[in-house]
Amino acid sequence: MRAYLTSPRFLRAALPAASFAILLAAIFYVQPRAMSYFGMNLMLQYTVPIALATIAQMFIITVNDLDLSIGPFVGLTACIGATLLADTPVLGLLALLACIAAYAALGALIHWRNLPSLVVTLGMSFVWLGIAVLILPTPGGTAPGWVKAIVGLKTPLVPFPIIAAIVIGIVVHVALMTSSYGAVLRGAGGNPRAIGRAGWSLLKIKMVMYAAAGFFGVLSGLSLIGLTSAADAHIADRYTLYAIAGVILGGGEFVGGRVSPIGAVIGAMTLTLTGSFLTFLKISPDWQIGAQGGILIIVLALRALINRREG
């Protein structure tokens, strides 16, 4: 048992949770009043959209691609949610489905023409932003009432964002890490040729993964307007980098299909908490992004140390 607890494999899996716990402990130390239902709710409320965007990015990273458009895409779905979905629900729903279909088509295009995902998604990020500006030229709109109701749910004892994060983590974990098709999907990141040789369609796998990313992008956009009540085309521009950082913080790797959904959710929560932590430390917002980068570097350095022990 002791050997297992100090094995690199266990340490690597435990690192995201440990970083989160340390950060949380530090916050409680600096600001004991945060240790309450209300405090936790306030600190973690933006976890839900960020965690969903992180999961979306994780699907793309699983198949060795990278999505540089997830932020603007979340912004677009937020704009659709605050306008079309609120005014004409059927049309809004169709528009959101079209967004998911567009993502699946991107996956197909990237596989079919063997294009670098970086280039395609970088280009698409401007397309999403452009459409979002067309739909909602100035910040505004209204989030549909049911979206606000879900996101603002007052759950007993444990705040809603924490429950939502746990549910997201477990659902995706079951789908990707324990289901039998999930093994094939991850295998496509580890050794695509082997998957192709075993008779699986790599085109279908890419389309499934991109569609899943699109679906979680839509959920991210909707949960975001549930919190803000209104939308703006640029509302989620930062999410692209948050999502990548969340996946990596959560123990994922850029290539090789090594990802962890639960880790990714914890990574997203860690990133959200750093913002609060730095505020409690009275560090000016100008420094916050830099400080977040610092935390990222510390965690990744620790992981590199663990990996070196293994190698």
Partner: protein, 491 residues
């Protein structure tokens, strides 16, 4: 019995061209049920292409394919191969390193779904591993990337023999023993005979002619994309088989060679090292101009010793005494050897960049010159040294890696089982090269899993459980002695 019961595969006049390269030039091949077919030929003879055609991963340009009595010309693909119970273990491993052993088994079996699939897949692969490789020490939950290359190969082989809903008819093994040691190789080949006895068929591709001669019912020899001989295994001897492949020089010749005239007392000592176990019976030493062999079962500390010496020489670690720069020839070509995106010339020059710098930049003329020189010297078969390294066959890629080490300023060359999956002709050329370079004063440390290669060495250290257990001079060397030392603990 009808034809479909006894005949598994009938290929007629199958051809496959890649541009101007005629990989297959009209091949006829029949495999019957309950037959072990040995397939031999040089690298580039078309064996691997033929296997890809049978596995359904390449479709032939011409010819007809009959599978178990049905004409599947033009409609044969990976799925059809699976439905007809034809499996292939490819030379380059086809496991997903990020998945567990059980999950890799599932990739192969579309029907393994639903509740408890992981447990069923795990039990299936574990039972097969137990059956083929008793005492393998692999768990179904192990992540494949954490396993050694030998264990990975065991998993891949066992996976090919697992069955779910469709019966298994033919397993194609392409160089299955290249990363296995003598013990596990024998376990595998004995299992193949047992499976064949139960009515399954097997195509065995190997450069180890002894395996082919001992275990095949029928031997097919390929050369330049054609089948040049197909006779019962008992009709061949080592000599006639080599002659059929078009090899003039014989492996046996190496054994006959006299020990080279290296006097240990006069040549200066260049390496002295000990393993981490602290249980070495003798220290590891090498003198200038010697060829020193590292033997024993696969992954018993030989590679660790080479890396230790490398660290001592190149990274200044105080783990061993080494005088002179070293260069390493990797055995796992695809992982540790070639730079996939680079040209052949650049792959050769990378170890010598420091000597090719002019005005702070790499001199492209010097790099091209080095490429040309070594293409000439060790006969790398390539139209242009600026072509991508992956355009070469496996044997020629390995030659390029040798050129990288030999072109450098290194006085000590470390070789980590570099001849995996390399054809006999290339091997003999490289052996000569090594002996010639040793004569000029270079020192070679040579880890090999092939007994025959040890006869090139002046001294052989046998490793077991990470420690040196025997030091055999050229005169003392024999297969029995190496095996005896390798297995002493279990006897």
């Amino acid at each position: 019995m009808t034809a479909s019961d006894t005949n598994i595969v009938t290929l007629e006049n199958v051809a496959k061209h890649f541009g101007a390269v005629r990989a297959l030039d009209g091949v006829d091949l029949k495999v019957d049920a309950g037959e072990c077919l040995g397939l031999v030929g040089h690298n580039g003879a078309g064996k691997s292409t033929l296997m890809h055609v049978l596995a359904g991963t390449l479709s032939p340009g011409a010819g007809s394919m009959g599978i178990r009595g049905h004409d599947l010309t033009g409609s044969y693909n990976v799925t059809a191969a699976g439905e007809n119970g034809i499996r292939c273990v490819f030379q380059e491993l086809s496991l997903c390193p990020n998945l567990t052993v059980a999950e890799n088994a599932r990739i192969f079996h579309p029907s393994l779904t639903g509740w408890g699939w992981k447990r069923r897949a795990g039990a299936m692969i574990r039972d097969k591993l137990d059956e083929i490789f008793p005492g393998h020490g692999i768990h179904a939950d192990d992540v494949v990337g954490d396993l050694s290359i030998g264990k990975r190969q065991m998993v891949e082989i066992a996976r090919a023999f697992t069955t779910t809903d469709t019966p298994l008819h033919l397993v194609i093994l392409d160089e299955p023993t290249s990363s296995l040691d003598a013990h596990t190789s024998k376990q595998l080949l004995d299992f193949v005979r047992k499976a064949v006895g139960e009515g399954q068929s097997c195509i065995l591709i190997s450069h180890v002619l002894g395996e082919i001669l001992t275990y095949s019912d029928r031997i097919v020899v390929m050369k330049d994309g054609l089948v040049v001989a197909s006779r019962a295994g008992s009709d061949f001897t080592r000599d006639t088989l080599v002659a059929a492949m078009g090899n003039v020089v014989e492996m046996e010749e190496i054994k006959e060679r006299e020990a080279r005239d290296v006097n240990r007392d006069h040549a200066p000592l260049v390496i002295e090292a000990r393993s981490d176990t602290g249980q070495d019976s003798v220290p590891f030493v090498a003198h200038k101009g010697e060829i020193v062999g590292l033997a024993g079962l696969a992954s018993h500390g030989q590679t660790a010793m080479l890396l230790k010496i490398y660290d001592a020489a190149m990274r200044g670690r105080n783990t061993a005494t080494v005088s002179g720069p070293v260069a390493l020839v990797a055995g796992d070509r695809q992982t540790d050897g070639v730079f996939h995106l680079w040209s052949i010339a650049r792959n050769i020059g990378v170890r010598s960049l420091r000597n090719m710098v002019r005005n702070g930049l790499i001199d492209p003329a010097a790099e091209a010159e080095m490429g040309r020189e070594w293409q000439e010297r060790i006969k790398i078969k390539a139209p242009d040294m600026n072509d991508n390294i992956l355009s070469l066959s496996g044997g020629n890629q390995q030659k390029a890696l040798f050129a990288r080490a030999l072109a450098s300023d290194a006085e000590i060359i470390l070789m980590d089982d570099p001849m995996r999956g390399v054809d006999v002709g290339t091997k003999l050329e490289v052996y000569d090269l090594i002996r010639a370079e040793a004569q000029k004063g270079r020192t070679f440390l040579w880890y090999t899993t092939e007994m025959d290669e040890l006869y090139n060495c002046d001294h052989t250290y046998v490793f077991r459980d990470g420690a040196i257990v025997a030091d055999l001079s050229r005169g003392d060397l024999s297969e029995e002695k190496v095996l005896q030392s390798s297995f002493k603990a279990s006897a």
